[in-house]
């Protein structure tokens, strides 16, 4: 595994360079916005990557919480399967399809719903026990970085195109900002919490955050969005060459995110091992000194 890391780093660097070349040179210039639109090749892949990482964090957190008790673990397994089955069937019912926003394809919704059980079992299988929590920290940290990129590149694009840096009350902007805030507070909790139960508390906070995001969405329902429509699974349309570049860019970003997350994951694991070793050492030391002092105490 260790030997794979430098190889993957070089490949990612090449991939990122290729994506940059595609974005700046190969992709056609937008008819209305000119060259400024090219920032989407960083903005959109970062957003997708950040949302994916937050989703992984949520799954890992839920799994960490339910694994505390064997009964809730079994129950959660069945609930997740039920969500997958019911969700996929429901998206093909005409009554439910009528509720979907215009332009959103039922097949896209079904795929998203299917991702929940798929990720749940994949994550549980690949990251047993404490590793779930390590995964949660890693994905939250890397996710915050990518979400920051989204929030920085967005206004840079919006200023020349919309004429304003930020559209207050916009549904996409606000929900991304709130998501970012929640995950920053998540990281703050992890940093400042000193007890051994940080993991449980952080996992609970992640669940609260995940409950919050749909409510944020719902709360700004009234406002229309200025944000361009989503390209995949939404009503937006795009030149196929642009979409091609966008997908290449996303793949490069995913590789990069995976690389960063992987090294962070290993670092966190090593850190915990060191901490554990220290704790064991001091325990052994305390035990030895207690034994040594016992006869002395008795004689005294």
């Amino acid at each position: 595994m260790k030997r794979l890391f430098p190889i993957l780093s070089i490949l990612t660097a090449i991939f990122l360079a290729y994506a940059l070349y595609q974005a700046l040179v190969v992709a056609p210039t937008d008819a209305l916005q000119g060259d400024v639109y090219r920032i989407i090749y960083y903005h959109v892949p970062s957003a997708w990557t950040a949302f994916l990482l937050f989703f992984i964090n949520f799954i890992a957190s839920v799994e960490y919480l339910v694994n505390a008790k064997p009964s809730s673990r079994t129950a959660a397994k069945w609930i997740v399967i039920a969500i997958g089955v019911v969700g996929v069937i429901a998206t093909f019912l005409p009554q439910v399809q009528a509720l979907l926003p215009t332009g959103m394809r039922p097949s896209a919704v079904a795929t998203t719903v299917l991702a929940i059980p798929a990720f749940y079992f994949l994550v549980g299988w690949l990251f047993p026990g404490e590793k779930l929590d390590v995964l949660a920290v890693t994905s939250a940290e890397v996710g915050v970085v990518f979400c920051t990129i989204v929030l920085v590149t967005g206004p840079i694009w919006a200023r020349p195109v919309w004429g304003i840096w930020w559209a207050p009350g916009d549904i996409r902007l606000t929900s991304t900002l709130v998501l970012w805030l929640i995950y920053v507070s998540y990281l703050a909790l992890r940093r400042f919490s000193s007890s051994a139960q940080t993991q449980m508390m952080a996992a609970a906070l992640a669940v609260f955050g995940a409950l919050d995001v749909p409510l944020v969405y719902f709360s700004i329902w009234f406002f229309r969005t200025q944000h361009p429509q989503p390209v995949i699974g939404g009503g937006g349309s795009m030149d196929p060459r642009m979409l091609h570049t966008l997908l290449i860019s996303w793949m490069a970003f995913l590789c990069f995110a995976f690389l960063v997350a992987w090294s962070r994951f290993r670092l966190e694991l090593l850190q915990r091992e060191v901490e554990q070793a220290h704790a064991m050492e001091s325990l052994a030391g305390a035990g030895a000194s207690a034994k040594a002092s016992l006869p002395l105490n008795r004689s005294a």
Binding site: F192, S193, S195, L211, F218
Partner: protein, 225 residues
């Protein structure tokens, strides 16, 4: 079920009695929000028409800050003499403790709101143009939204370093949809321009979702040691 309510009531009565005798939380909260109101009065000097548009925001910001002052003291009291540890080893359900604390905070913050609202009316010359009765469900649901998550996060931040600052850091991001609902709803009623119905439903949804989540997860947080 019966014992759950009996325990909730017992803890609630204990908290109210303690508060009645010491008046720690209520006094500091009252004075704090009075200061906030006065600072707002100096900072913004609007016409009556303008004030209708901004007072919804000012009122709730003042209440939010004051609620944090009260919430920070919720659990601190139980740390003295290891009361919380005693609770943890007792067979009493964790949710009874949580409900008692949340209801207690709800009561304190509601009293505060009832006392502070006239001040806002006086300072800003408020005339409500919309249906004024809608302010009551907005206030009740909004206060519960702040207090239920606040009580939960206060319990969480107990085990962190610098816990006083940790509570707003955890509470504010999650409260954003609720604050949005309260502010927009109150403004809608004050100006009478649109209906506050949507915001009442929003706050109700928020309350139901997060009360359920708090009750589901509080046991884990309390036993976390």
């Amino acid at each position: 079920m019966n014992s759950l309510w009996a325990l909730t009531l017992a803890t609630l009565v204990k908290d109210i009695r303690l508060e009645w005798r010491s008046k720690d939380a209520l006094n500091s909260m009252l004075f704090f929000s009075l200061l906030v109101v006065v600072i707002f009065v100096f900072s913004f000097d609007p016409l009556a028409e303008e004030s209708r548009h901004i007072v919804g925001g000012l009122v709730w910001v003042a209440f939010l800050f004051a609620a944090v002052v009260a919430l920070n003291q919720t659990w601190a009291r139980e740390l003295r003499n290891q009361v919380l540890d005693a609770y943890r080893v007792s067979p009493a359900p964790a949710n009874a403790l949580f409900m008692a604390k949340a209801l207690g905070n709800f009561l304190f913050v509601s009293v505060l709101e009832a006392l502070m609202t006239p001040l806002f009316v006086i300072f800003y010359n408020l005339h409500v143009l919309g249906p004024a009765w809608q302010l009551i469900p907005l206030a009740l649901l909004g206060t519960w939204a702040l207090v239920v998550n606040g009580t939960f996060f206060a319990a969480m931040s107990l085990r962190t370093r610098n816990r006083e600052i940790m509570l707003p850091l955890l509470l504010f991001p999650v409260s954003i949809p609720a604050v949005l609902g309260m502010v927009a709803g109150t403004t809608a009623v004050l100006t009478g321009e649109n209906s506050a119905h949507f915001y009442i439903v929003l706050l109700l949804t928020y309350d139901v979702v997060f009360t359920t989540a708090c009750l589901g997860l509080f046991g884990t947080i309390l036993q976390a040691e």
